[in-house]
Symmetry: C2
């Protein structure tokens, strides 16, 4: 399905005669790159470009998930689905899919980047499989590995990798999700027995929404307020056994099933509560804070706030992998919708030719092609994120600054890609009409399963607010001790400065590669430098404006300060989103900078331009209000986009083929070629009928006589 | 849950002491109208206002669906769900829920408006119930009643009403959905036997996505190309028996199950095909076209095109009822999300007070309150649509012009309300975080079930394109025979003209009631007249601009003309959307014009203003580019919205309580008060702990010592 031989067959050079106008006619636009006689992308090379640094592992993972045993079965009742996914995790173990992130001495492969790259691909098989593996190895296993020390690794890590010890990651509570620091569960140290007493003091402190909690978890990494000697040292993580070998809760432990969810029903999410459950002192995962046998607390990190964020930061991989999985899931939806749009015909064009292929409609191009550009940007941005993650977690570039950058980058990208996933999958489903609503065509299942990605592992708005605060902090740092003259001078050359060092924003005309982009950008439109100037300038000005409005808060009462901040919250989140979009645009631009093949570079530059202009169009009012675009130039943005979508239209199939999906990954009948066969059969029927002379004449022609 | 007594308890006047700052503190904003000492709405009166002309029937329907037997069971496997919904239809029959639309002589009540009003409410019980009833009585039954004649009514109507004869509505085919005129199924008249031969000539002509087709349908109203005497008279509808009493297909009939869908899995959608199936001449539903025994075709409507659209128009009620059901489903989602947002607390404000109620966050107000305003607008617009529908179908105002207006109005409103449903439900689900993803809280189920509303009964984009063409037609009619001087004079006073007579656009300052709106509109903002001028002016200019760009098409070749139209398709759809938004705004404005109670009028005027400004903000770039708003005024739009959301925040609970839902309609644990109880329990626990003197001290306070 993904090779050129099949694709060439999609649009016969000579369209079959129409049932309405036997004379036939030309389609309204070139349908494929061959027809258009235009530069073409090198599909296989683009696949490697998209799969990025860990392409090899991704290919491995894609081979593995060709096995139907790993696929989602639509409509499978929840209990069976849960057991099936548990079995699939065992298949992963057998195929060495569970060990990439862990140290070699426990059977691991010590390859963090590859681990996440491979893990993301599981979304193509069944997102429940992806997320349940994430719970077992990315959260439960990672908590032991990242927050524990060697004694814990020796005790549990091999069993975790082998799935001998399935576990839950018990952080979130019914009463506190985003605000982890305020969880109610307590772990009080008892020096007499050298035990921690894990306790749930009220209903809101029940642990909730935990994968593996309802059925399969034998233990959990439980986050609780560590109390020793009458002092609360804040949230720490404890290893707590949950169930005996028969699956019964151990004494003091209780729970509930979360029941049916909007998606991901292959995972047994549930609630847990603890009634003075005692665990040995050993079970405190003590990498960042420890309690001596006499109850003395020690930590290398003296600031409670920094310690807390360091512990949370050690678990950043969840966000990194959701960014990638959302990107891959979105790609699948676009593959399905664009392949169908290239085959499905509906309505004749009024030009007397054949019925029109959906993707030839202006509206259809407009609704899908900018989303394709956006998805490409996400691939490049995710690979950058993955590289940064691997740098930090391999220890190669593990500094506090790098960690902070990694966390900010993940917090900026995960919200954008997960929201884009939902809106793109929804647009794809609508673009496929009624067949898009059938489970067999996968789009509805993808939407249902990926829905929760926007609120778990950090609610998207909360994450963006974190990014916004970081941007404000970086901005303020510029002016520490600055006098009025310096501020004024800064304001004057604002657009040219490198303001946001840490958060990933490149400096103008410096780190962003623009090799060849001037020549290849849309000729009358906004070239790469101008796109970058507009996108980066918006982030900078929004942050500066918000900082200005927040200034009175410094001298206000706490309540007034909170009110001032609250009045700017929505815009701060919007500034953070603008920052994330800029990062994606920069990653796209850098990502194609090394492309040697002329045709590929040309088409991908158009696609990058489409992404840039799509972002500018989305925020056009802002650019006008802030005098960054004249009304005339602003009006031309939409026209440039129209022109770009027309140019890219013949390349649409190449561009989704370059995702490199095999039929076993796609599995949607409407993207299998069946639609084309049906349309061909219908046209042949009408052609034969017309040739036979037996075709009924239309009433209209009767009246003309 | 819906009465003031319960509501008063939501925000204790004195917040309990915080666990962090035992001194407590004031919330950042007034939470309820009582606290704010502001005008309040008369909740019960607003409920009646929202329920509109057929409020009585709606109350009846809401009483009926308090019966748990009619409720959706989350996670119920598809086969059981299908049987359950069939049983629910029988319950409706027993409770006279199936007869409102039909003539009294067949057991009906002859009340079209009431029928749809009652039917829409079923969405609260289970959207599958709503849609399966729609298939049986709104589509299958309506086809017999609207397209057939007395002989058909005598033969089948009572059995249809009583569900003795469950049926499918077989219009859509796998190969043709939106383009009904091009369906492939044929009905060829055989004068020798006086029968029609129903036949499926190729795979693409299989009937598809038909409710009742997979299991329960005993017959179908089948749309097919009517061929007699070698002439194709276009699409007509035929009554075709499908199954015997044991449920087996009759000879020549075959089919398939559509399987699992993205939602609505209580309905047995399926495919049907016909192999030279013979039905008596009697079975042609012959209201608009007939075939004599010798095969002679006759029709009162000579134009094949007009005949086709008349037949389709007779089935407009599907769109009318989807507009209402989407509106009611959206209201439920907003009730749940806003009630939860009024109880759930997360993060302390930094002001040293208690944890903050979600709805006190600026972002949370911004994301939900404009959607509440939009939903109110939809209620008023739907009631206007329903009145027009009742006028036409009761015969009181059944003229071709009224029918055309009705169809245009339905085609404009259904896309907006169904899309708004999906985006609002999604925003509501995200605003509820992880608990929003649990099926028990209903938001995910609503999204899944309502998803297909945007593409069935007319794909939303296709419907809007129809509206756009109507707008272009009305526009062109102004200038028939106009000379250049007239055109120029028109252009000059464009903003003041009543251009679109038929399509529902009111004339400035004339039909739109603005009683009291000047005084009550946001004082510094855009008052009602200005909102109307901006919204209406945009529709007018967009249509005029598109018409101008399409002018060359008149003299172009067919292929070129098609290309010119295609280049403007996306914008024409956008113009139609703008028109629909204007209609909603006008309906809202008229809808509150008669309100006597001062407080109610004040609050609903703010809400109408919020809706208007929300629309203007959405299209701000257009207003700037087209010189309708200066950059300065445009910049103030967002500030006005911020101010309005702050003003409306204390009224949010009143406004969703005014939907009039009972606990049996809501059924979401997070909107039951359980969340408030949990938060109260947690605060009491911390307060008692603090009072006991046993509370652990925070590490931070330790360091200060």
């Amino acid at each position: 399905m993904t090779d050129a031989a099949v694709r060439q067959n999609i649009h016969p050079k000579k369209p079959a005669t129409s049932k309405r106008t036997p004379a036939g006619g030309a389609p309204t636009a070139a349908h494929s790159a061959e027809e258009a006689n235009e530069p073409r992308i090198d599909i296989a090379a683009v696949t490697e470009l998209l799969l990025g640094t860990w392409a090899e592992t991704r290919h491995e993972a894609r081979e593995l998930i060709k096995d139907p045993a790993l696929w989602r079965i639509d409509g499978q009742p929840m209990p069976e689905h849960r057991e099936r996914v548990l079995g699939q995790l065992r298949l992963l173990v057998e195929n060495k899919g569970s060990r990439r992130a862990f140290p070699k001495e426990y059977g691991g492969l010590d390859n963090n980047g590859a681990n996440l790259a491979g893990f993301m691909e599981l979304v193509l098989a069944d997102p429940s499989l992806q997320i349940k593996s994430g719970v077992q190895w990315g959260l439960f296993g990672s908590a032991i590995y990242q927050l524990g020390t060697k004694k814990h690794w020796d005790a549990w890590l091999s069993d975790v990798i082998e799935l001998e010890l399935p576990g839950a990651f018990a952080m979130t509570e019914t009463g506190h999700g985003s605000d982890v620091a305020s969880i109610g569960t307590t772990a009080t140290y008892d020096p007499d027995t050298e035990e921690f007493v894990i306790h749930t003091p009220f209903r809101g402190a029940w642990k909730d929404y935990l994968g593996n909690a309802a059925l399969h978890g034998k233990a959990a990494t439980v986050f609780a307020q560590l109390i020793t000697g009458g002092v609360n040292y804040g949230v720490h993580c404890f290893f707590v056994p949950l169930r005996d070998d028969e699956g019964n809760f151990l004494p003091g432990i209780g729970g509930e099933d979360d029941g049916v969810k909007g998606g991901l029903n292959g995972i047994d999410n549930g609630r847990l509560h603890f009634d003075h459950v005692r665990v040995p002192r050993f079970n405190l995962l003590n990498r960042y804070g420890d309690v001596a046998s006499d109850g003395t607390y020690t930590s290398e990190i003296s600031s409670p706030g920094r310690r807390f964020f360091t512990m949370l930061g050690a678990l950043v991989q969840g966000r990194v992998s959701l960014d990638g999985a959302a990107t891959t899931g979105t790609a699948l939806a676009l593959y399905i919708a664009l392949t169908y749009a290239n085959q499905r015909r509906q309505f004749d064009s009024g030009s007397g030719s054949d019925e029109v292929v959906l993707l030839d409609y202006g509206k259809h191009q407009r609704r899908l092609l900018p989303l394709l550009a956006q998805n490409y940007a996400q691939f490049f941005a995710n690979d950058e994120l993955l590289q940064k993650f691997d740098g930090v977690f391999s220890g190669r570039a593990d500094t506090p600054a790098e960690r902070e950058d990694l966390e900010t980058l993940a917090a900026a990208l995960k919200p954008l890609s997960t929201w884009n996933a939902l809106s793109t999958i929804q647009e794809a489903r609508e673009a496929c009409g009624g067949s898009g609503f059938l489970a067999e065509n996968r789009l509805v299942g993808l939407h249902q399963d990926l829905d929760v990605y926007v609120t778990f592992e950090g609610d998207n708005n909360v994450l963006l607010q974190l990014v916004g605060k970081r941007l404000l902090g970086d901005y303020a740092r510029q002016f520490r001790g600055a006098d009025a003259a310096k501020l004024a001078s800064f304001a004057a050359r604002q657009a040219a400065g490198k303001i946001f060092h840490g958060a990933g924003l490149r400096q103008f005309g410096q780190s962003v590669a623009d090799r060849g982009s001037v020549a290849r950008s849309v000729e009358l439109g906004l070239r790469a430098e101008q796109q970058h100037e507009l996108l980066a300038g918006r982030v900078q000005q929004m942050v500066a404006d918000i900082a200005g409005r927040l200034r009175p808060a410094a001298k206000a009462s706490k309540a007034e300060a909170a009110e001032i901040f609250n009045a700017n919250q929505a815009e701060l989140i919007e500034a953070a989103r603008a920052h994330g979009e800029l990062l994606q645009w920069e990653a796209f631009t850098d990502g194609i900078a090394g492309v040697e093949d002329e045709g590929t570079l040309q088409v991908l530059t158009w696609l990058r331009d489409l992404f840039g202009l799509h972002l500018i169009e989305k925020h056009l009012a802002w650019y006008l209000i802030n005098g960054r675009l004249s009304a005339q130039r602003a009006a031309s943005v939409s026209r440039y986009i129209d022109r770009l979508t027309l140019r890219l239209r013949p390349h649409a199939q190449d561009l989704v083929d370059a995702y490199g999906f095999a039929p076993e990954h796609v599995r949607a009948p409407i993207a299998s070629g069946a639609e084309r066969e049906r349309q061909d059969e219908a046209r042949e029927y009408y052609a034969a009928l017309a040739a036979s002379g037996e075709a009924p004449v239309p009433e209209k022609s009767l009246k003309k006589k």
